[in-house]
Amino acid sequence: MKTIILGVGDYDVTNTPGQQLKTLGLGSCVAVIILDPVSRCIAMDHVALPESKISPDRARQKPGYFADTGIPALLEAMKRTGAGKNHQKMIVKLVGGANVMDPNNTFNIGKRNVLAIKKILWKYGMGPLAEDVGGRISRTVTVDVDTGRVHVSSPGRTDWEV
């Protein structure tokens, strides 16, 4: 099993049998996972922040870092890997977006990430089929090309699937 590890702001697409995409330490960051049953490709973007306007430079270096530049980049990359244009047929899953309950509404980056991602997906006529978001937890997620399974783990807890 060949594992491709994505860091913060990284994204990748693959349909090579035997491969998996993995990203670690999703705190307030969100892994946007898209599966295309037509081309059998899996795609993942490790989104850190909702809007790129705070740093267009960063968005140029790493479009996957922000929800608004990452999702379009991910879908483009999927197209290049042979995914169809029918976004509604794709399966979307969101993992991460842990929350810090801050009455000042400043530290709720996780929640803002999830909302921003959903807003952008909606523009493509897409919405998550499943999500494992929020909570006070750091997640690691792995997606397999062969099975399309989304496997989540976190220290001190038993693994689960989304």
Partner: protein
């Protein structure tokens, strides 16, 4: 709360913090210190000098000509990274332990401490001058050392601790540690800080970084700063394992730190970038 005897013994059995580390900590706290002040201390220690030169000559710094003296190296690294390297070296036994009691991988304590240091330094800029960014940085590096000492006593009980912390029957993960051991990592960290004769400000940070309101008056801004820096580090995926994010943010941070949503996002971003650079420099072959 009296520390359980065996844990107190673990603290007391640790070697004192080396003189040059203490001197570096003191020097960096003085806002009028110079590069020469730092260089003088570093040069007395061959291992530290070697580490400093190795890091500055690593690909991460992209220098075309090799740097061969400490005095030339420090302006490139900055005082903070110099102190960070010194602390890592002096307390490497503590920083590099794997935290089995937290199911934290080897290196996770150092990464979390470094990211908290950088985040705290960034947040200090929003305290209207009340907090010295260099002091926030060193406090960030040291804040969670207590975990290194109590981790072994928590081994095998991690799932139970998470369940307790999530249950709502205790305030946070410290409460779960306390129920299990009779003490928690912040209390043990404070005991270590006292054992090492660290300045009161640092003792307060180790003791109260999860409950900043309990600090004493002069240290509140610094403790709140590290409190927030800790959250930024955890949110950014550099936690120490099972306890990540199982803490409560004290909303009164706004009495000392004035930061908007957008500014916090920038802190998050800058912390991430500086952390990546620091990691690749420090662990270059």
């Amino acid at each position: 709360m009296a520390l359980p005897e065996r844990i107190l013994e673990s603290v007391r059995s640790l070697k004192p913090l080396p003189q040059n580390a203490m001197r570096l900590l003191e020097t960096v706290r003085d806002p009028s210190h110079t590069v020469q002040d730092i260089a003088r201390i570093v040069e007395t220690d061959a291992a530290l000098t070697g580490n400093i030169l190795r890091v500055v000559n690593s690909p991460a710094f992209g220098l075309r000509v090799e740097v061969t003296t400490v005095a030339r190296a420090i302006p490139f690294l900055g005082d903070r990274m110099t102190v960070g390297i010194a602390l890592n070296l002096c307390a490497s036994q503590l920083f590099n332990r794997s935290l089995e009691g937290y199911e934290g991988e080897k290196g996770s304590l150092w990464r979390h401490s470094m990211k908290t240091a950088i985040a705290s330094k960034e947040i200090a800029r929003y305290t209207d001058g009340r907090v010295n960014p260099d002091e926030a940085y060193t406090a960030g590096i040291l804040h969670d050392l207590g975990k290194s000492i109590i981790s072994q006593y928590l081994e095998g009980r991690t799932h139970e601790l998470v369940q307790t912390a999530e249950s709502g029957n205790v305030r946070d993960y410290l409460g779960a540690e306390s129920e299990t051991l009779g003490t928690d990592h912040s209390e043990v960290g404070a005991a270590l800080a006292v054992h090492w004769k660290l300045p009161p400000a640092l003792v307060e940070v180790l003791a109260h970084h999860h409950s900043p309101a309990q600090s004493s008056e002069p240290h509140l801004p610094l403790v709140y700063t590290v409190h927030l820096g800790d959250f930024v580090s955890m949110m950014g995926g550099a936690g120490t394992g099972s306890d990540t994010l199982l803490y409560r943010i004290d909303e009164n941070y706004k009495d000392y730190i004035s930061i908007s949503r957008q500014e916090l996002e920038l802190v998050f971003l800058h912390t991430e970038q500086e952390f990546e650079k620091t990691l690749s420099a420090m662990f270059a072959e």
